[in-house]
């Protein structure tokens, strides 16, 4: 069938900010889809609030709306753009939910917009557990015995019928939020209450538990004429009971016989037909009883999902692109398989390798949260690895996680499991946690049988036996340094680091030995067809075999190192930069080579770079690629901390690093040397010192004054950073840090900086080519200095910065860039107090704000930087047209707001601080700060009431500034309630607020008021000690009752400003192209 020509324009909805359960995989899918549709000549209209995405780059759509993804805003977009069709299946649950609402409310009908891919009926059948069950039963498929409850009493009755343990799942949720397993009636009461509250429709399903069963997934594509193919089959290493996003998963399926697999395949296709998915990709999950083979359908997603991204990268089959093409009427056999270039897409990929995905967790950021994994997803990212065998792929995946592990144990961190006693180890094998796989390896090393470990963990014995082979090879390594053993170890995925650990040698010595005996990596191609046809698209992975398939090339080559698995502090923003570098250098005539191990990304699409190596980002793996590719230069400055950590070792190995040298990067991080540079340039820094004892710390504080920002010198990413207001607090902090008894801690000093209270924090992103400085943008943080810049919202252009301070910031940026010999990107954080400008931090590399500032200013900063890193001058790029013409002051304001994962970590206090905790960000663009901030808040999911009651509770130091907040809300017509202290203070300044009790302090306390819905907004600024714990209770209570909670004065003022702008202005969308043209 030819593509539909009755449709000319298509609305594609993205997934919004990165949150746990909905990561950057939807940037990959949306980008692929938008590209495919534009290539087919359709007009593409895109809505997504997330500026860090490639899909929101203006060239990927005809009209790009960086706007909140709410029904109101999308309805306005529809009214303006009048698309013929809406493609709801590529933006995760967010897009699906908004599309459903638009269809239900009649908006689509009113504007004549057709939903393509999946219609309202199909979505409802798939998403509503009751309807899903009914649909499955009508086509003869078995689902877990279950019933559907709208109240606690109903839930208890159903549980009695199906028998405990039962699983509780709320309807219409993403990432398994609010689901849980109850063994007893008591547990059910707790979980059901939570589930009923979580579900937007107040419905839960109570079903027979399939805990410990084998878990499988099929990724299926279907076209409009009814052809269906299984793109990829996936087996979960962790059995049922652990959310698939938190499970180690393996492709293809390993432990089903052909007969069972074919039955499952038939069932999967039947599910799509029964649900009524017209076209596109869907994911169907099954549970299989390991004792009997009984197979149940668990759920299906009538859309592209996280698993689709994995399946796409695991097979080389571009699921999202196909989903888009099928939606506009192509049949599967009418589309070419890009990888072979000669066969149609109507086939099922054949793999001749094994793919393992391992989730990446960040529990260290949320110390109160239990690490036991369950049905609510909490991983923040994932790494995927490809190997010829499961042991090889597993070890590669584990070392890709960048959590210090070098593979399955046999590394410095294995002491964690070696130190466990028998009972502790048994518990660690039994209970699913991020570390369970290592405990299983240790148990096998201790000689526990495969059956014991399989029985305890419920992991299939086949996987356990494969792991025991790894352990046996390890034992050989412990007793032999034979070349044959070395080769065997490499074939089982052992890293040089593991081998060095076991041999008690240096990693580099192992590498030298290997190369002297010719044990080097071979690279194989991911080709969708197990070598049956020649592959055109070089998508490679490393292994140790007899033949390598890398073809030499004569063109100048640049290697871009990607950013690895997503984690808090390092997300999609860095992938964005890497992708842009690759695009820019391809355009400039280079061949680009990408290394990355994150399957959710655009950088790991096989057509982003000339060659893609899906490999771990370790020195060993990267050097192996460099050996065969022989690039002219390697870019390490755009992928965040991951590639930077490799820079020095790569440089030592003789690799040419593009742009700013690793030495300059290190210089910027060296406190003393950097302080020296600032002194020489006449730049101010906050007074600082360091201490190794409480007494020394007191001395430092005597000199520089309170408050101070403290942190141990050995940790990265703001861990254990804290603002200290009193010497008692300081004492406690020092005792806490040194009390841990870690020798590394004791030998390292605590760094103490004067904390500039009420200072404004400024971020600058710029490119320097050695001669000229190109400022991308200057951003002013909404929260004052002291909140991690990744968690702070920021505004550009800076609203409160004086001309004087502005000038000083530009001077400082230029001089620091020159002093550090920057060639490429530089990011500087300043604190400004009055006209005084202090340098806080310099990062001569790509920063988190590059995509935001690129979109706010219409300057492709990462592309420019990549060219400059390869030696181009800014002047040259300007004449090329890569840098747009200078324009006058911009006529719009852009705000970036962070999105925090508190809903996944209910145990944690939702307070912001120097340690970054956000998972993603949104952007709001408006004609003034109020509108832009309002859009950002809405995009981040904060729905603000425009009338009602505001609860105020200010720390003493915030009270003077708090007056402005109180006044602003009074003017907006809100009633004020406040803690007694705050109320008294306000009364003293002629502002009336009703005084309420703190939680647990008596009659009608604030907790009760929140519960009764009497309060619509909380402004609660915390500070140390007891006040913090009171505040913590209030914040948790607010969160439980979904009342927006602001924890800074500036945040409160900004909220007031956005309320003043009003919902009319906030809901009025305007495309990025219009904003940029309008200047």
């Amino acid at each position: 069938m030819p593509p539909r020509r009755d449709i000319r324009s298509i609305l594609v909805i993205g997934s919004g900010p990165i949150v746990i359960g909905q990561g950057c995989e939807f940037d990959y899918s949306g980008t692929q889809a938008a590209k495919a549709l534009m290539a087919e000549g359709y007009r593409v209209i895109l809505v997504n609030s997330n500026p860090a995405t490639i899909m929101t780059d203006p060239e990927f759509a005809d009209a790009t709306y960086i706007e909140p993804i709410t029904p109101e805003v999308v309805a306005e977009v529809i009214a303006r753009e009048r698309p013929d069709a809406l493609l709801p299946t590529l933006g995760g649950q967010t897009a699906l939910n908004v599309s459903t609402e638009l269809a239900r409310s009649g908006i689509l009908e009113r504007y004549g917009v057709e939903m393509i891919g999946a219609g309202l009926q199909a979505i409802t059948k798939a998403e509503d557990r009751g309807k899903f069950k009914e649909t499955m039963e009508t086509v003869g498929l078995e689902v877990p015995r279950a019933g559907y409850a709208k109240s606690m009493a109903e839930a208890l009755n159903i549980a009695k019928d199906v028998g405990y343990p039962v699983m509780v799942r709320p309807s219409f949720i993403l990432g398994g939020r609010g689901t849980g397993i109850a063994d007893t009636e008591e547990e059910l009461l707790d979980i059901a209450k939570d589930g009923l509250a979580t579900s937007p429709v107040g419905k839960i399903l109570v079903e027979e538990s399939v805990l410990g069963w084998k878990e499988y997934e099929l990724e299926i594509m279907r076209d409009g004429v009814g052809n269906a193919v299984i793109v990829c089959s996936i087996e979960n290493f962790d059995p049922m009971g652990v959310h698939t996003g938190d499970s180690i998963t393996v492709a293809p399926i390993q432990t089903l016989s052909d007969r069972e697999y074919q039955e499952m395949r038939v069932d999967g296709i039947k599910v799509l037909q029964a649900i009524g998915v017209e076209t596109g990709g869907s994911n169907v999950q099954f549970a299989v009883d390991p004792e009997t083979g009984r197979r149940l359908v668990i759920e299906m997603n009538p859309r592209v999902s996280r698993s689709s991204a994995l399946a796409s990268k695991a097979t080389g089959f571009p699921i999202a692109k196909l989903a888009a093409l099928l939606a506009v009427g192509y049949a599967l056999d009418e589309v070419t398989n890009d990888i072979t270039g000669a066969t149609p897409a109507s086939f099922e990929p054949a793999l001749d390798y094994v793919v393992v995905k391992v989730p990446r967790f960040d529990f260290a950021k949320f110390p109160s949260a239990p690490t036991r994994l369950g049905t609510s997803m909490r991983s923040v990212g994932e790494a995927m690895a490809i190997g010829r065998t499961f042991p090889e792929a597993l070890q590669k995946a584990l070392r890709s996680l960048e959590n210090g592990r070098a593979g399955l144990n046999a590394d410095a961190l294995e002491d964690r499991v070696i130190s466990l006693d028998h009972d502790e180890l048994a518990e660690a094998v039994k209970v699913p946690t991020p570390d369970r796989v290592f405990a299983m390896g240790e148990a096998l090393r201790r000689g526990w049988t495969v059956d014991d470990v399989a029985h305890l963990s419920k992991v299939d014995p086949w996987f356990v036996d494969q792991m025991s082979e790894i352990v046996e090879v390890r034992e050989e390594l412990e007793t032999s340094t034979d070349v044959a053993v070395l080769l065997e170890a490499k074939r089982y995925g052992f890293s040089d680091r593991q081998i060095a650990h076991l041999w008690d040698r240096e990693e580099i010595d192992v590498r030298k030995l290997r190369s002297s005996v010719g044990i080097v990596r071979t690279f194989k191609t991911v080709d969708t067809c197990a070598a049956e046809f020649e592959a055109l698209t070089p998508y490679m992975y490393g292994t140790f075999e007899e033949e390598s398939e890398v073809r030499p090339s004569e063109k100048p080559r640049v290697l871009v190192l990607g950013s690895g698995p997503n984690r808090i502090g390092q997300g999609i923003e860095f992938d964005y930069c890497c992708v842009h570098a690759s695009f820019a250098l391809r355009d400039a005539g280079y061949e680009t080579v990408m290394i990355n191990c994150n399957p959710e990304t655009v950088s790991t699409d096989y057509d982003t770079s000339d060659r893609l190596y899906f490999e771990p980002l370790t020195t060993e793996d990267v050097l192996a690629v460099i050996d065969v590719e022989k690039p002219d230069a390697v870019i390490v400055q755009l992928g965040g901390q991951t590639p930077l950590n490799l820079a020095e070792e790569l440089a030592d190995a003789g690799v040419v690093i593009a742009g700013t040298s690793p030495a300059s990067i290190a210089l910027a991080e060296d406190r003393e040397q950097f302080a020296e540079i600032c002194r020489n340039l006449g730049l101010k820094q906050p007074p600082a010192g360091s201490a190794t004892s409480a007494a020394e710390a007191d001395d430092v504080v005597d000199q520089i004054g309170l408050p101070v920002m403290v942190r141990p010198s050995f940790v990265l990413g703001g861990r254990k950073m804290k603002v200290i207001y009193s010497s008692e607090e300081l004492g406690t902090y020092v005792r806490e840090i040194y009390g841990e008894g870690d020798p590394e801690v004791v030998s390292n000093p605590i760094l103490i900086d004067r904390f500039l209270e009420s200072a404004v924090e400024i971020d600058v992103d710029a490119v320097f080519d050695g001669h000229e400085l190109l400022v991308g943008g200057v951003m002013e943080h909404v929260e004052e200095a002291g909140i991690h810049s990744g968690d702070s919202s920021c505004v550009t252009p800076p609203p409160t910065l004086s001309d004087e301070a502005s000038k000083e910031i530009l001077r400082a940026t230029r001089e620091l860039a020159a002093a550090l010999a920057v060639q490429g990107l530089i990011n500087i954080q300043f604190a400004v107090k009055g006209d005084d400008v202090y340098v806080l931090e310099v990062n001569p590399r790509g920063s988190r704000t590059v995509p935001f500032i690129s979109k706010a200013k219409g300057i492709p900063l990462a592309r420019i930087a990549a060219r400059v890193m390869m030696g181009s001058r800014i002047e040259e790029l300007r004449s090329e047209g890569l840098i747009p013409e200078e324009r006058g002051g911009s006529e719009f304001v852009a705000v970036k707001e962070a999105v925090l994962p508190w809903d996944r970590f209910p145990e944690e206090d939702s307070v912001l601080g120097p340690e970054m905790k956000s998972t993603g960000e949104v952007m709001g663009i408006g004609s003034d700060v109020g509108v832009a901030y309002g859009k950002a808040l809405l995009g981040a999911g904060h729905v603000l009431a425009d009338r009602g009651r505001v609860f105020l509770s200010f720390a003493d130091r915030d009270k003077p500034m708090g007056l402005a907040v109180a006044q602003a809300f009074t003017l907006l017509g809100f009633d004020l309630v406040a803690t007694k202290g705050t109320a008294r203070f306000l009364h003293h300044h002629a502002i009336e607020a009703e005084a309420v009790n703190k939680i647990g302090e008596g009659h009608r306390d604030i907790g009760e008021r929140l519960e009764n819905g009497e309060v619509q907004l909380v402004v609660n600024t915390p500070r140390g000690g007891r006040a913090r714990s009171d505040g913590s209770k209030i914040r948790q209570s607010a969160r439980r009752h979904a009342v927006p909670c602001v924890t800074t004065i500036q945040g409160g003022l900004a909220v007031a400003r956005s309320l003043r702008a009003g919902p009319g202005a906030i809901n009025r969308p305007r495309s990025l192209q219009e904003w940029h043209r309008g200047r």
């Binding site: 089903l256 052909d258 086939f347 001749d352 082979e469 050989e476 065997e488 046809f533 033949e547 398939e549």
Partner: protein, 387 residues
Amino acid sequence: MREKVPALLATADGTVFRGNSVGGPGVASGEAVFNTSMTGYQEILTDPSYAGQIVVMTYPHIGNYGVVEFDAQSSGPAVSGFIMRSLSRRESSWRSEGSLADYLLRHDVVAVSEVDTRRLTRHIRDRGAMPIAMGSDVSETELIDIAADTPTMAGQDLASSVTTREPYRLDAEGDAQGLVVAIDLGLKREILRNLTGRGFEVVVVPAATDAETILGMSPSGVFVSNGPGDPEPLTATTKSLRDLLGQRPLFGICLGHQVLGLAVGASTFKLPFGHHGGNHPVRRLDDNRVYITTQNHGFAVDLWSLSDDDQPDRGELVGRNLLPEVVETPFGRMRPSHQNLNDGTLEGMVLEEIPAFSVQYHPEGAPGPSDAGGLFDDFVRLMDEAG
């Protein structure tokens, strides 16, 4: 070190591969073919169509879920040798009756594991199917000589070595609706299950059984099975089919399809490296539906040999024009019914004036998808219509 028995493999063009011996002793030789199925190793091992061939499994892990007698496609392994990347030493499945490792040893299958199977596959893909020899305790040069002396499949009558010596009878499941005579060229058990499961009693007869004998059994229909090697030497079967055409409804699969082609006067040819796997897209030409099919054949029917037109060149994707619309045969008009979407070759044909049709692929799956299982129903319908 863990115990390993090194093995060598050599192709007829003198290329050497290394691995470890995991099966029976001795040296095996035969034409090397690769199979891209990710599951179904036992069905492949026991498929008589692989007689005379050494099978390279492209999926690395083999043996994961053990072996089950029910899944065997004949009484035991039919391959001349088996090559893998990684043989599982432990299987895991509630269905399993034993490990593949034991099965290979028990049946004396020469098998080699830890081979760079992708390298070998690419070698075959680029240079065409070729003989290979393999074993332990044997030198490279000896193996190369053995491989070079191993005949290719072309011209070999392998079916007569795997066909049943005596006819045998299988009961229908439930009440018998009729009798099907199945000409055994290397018949898979799953095909028999598809016939008996649809209520037919089946008499399996040797490949060279003549038409008179078959018609003497008064069958409702005649089935011609899959099997190994080149169809051309199967002159006796070809003759029987010629005599049977038009007498009783006839259905052929794989080698049976090729012999039907020969019977109606078409010629056959050898494919560069054949189709062996479970993911081959096939288009049903009357409604353009695409089926994912199981395939296992090295030869194909050339319909252009019955046409006056020349075969056109291939475009970007396989088109309908790569096959003639319809051809004339001594048995009336015949049209192609199915086409392979990877290379455009013929996957099925229907005689329009007599009840006879055939497919090149395996609608019974085993291993592989059973999307096209409806073809057995078509056969039943033809038999019902013929009365």
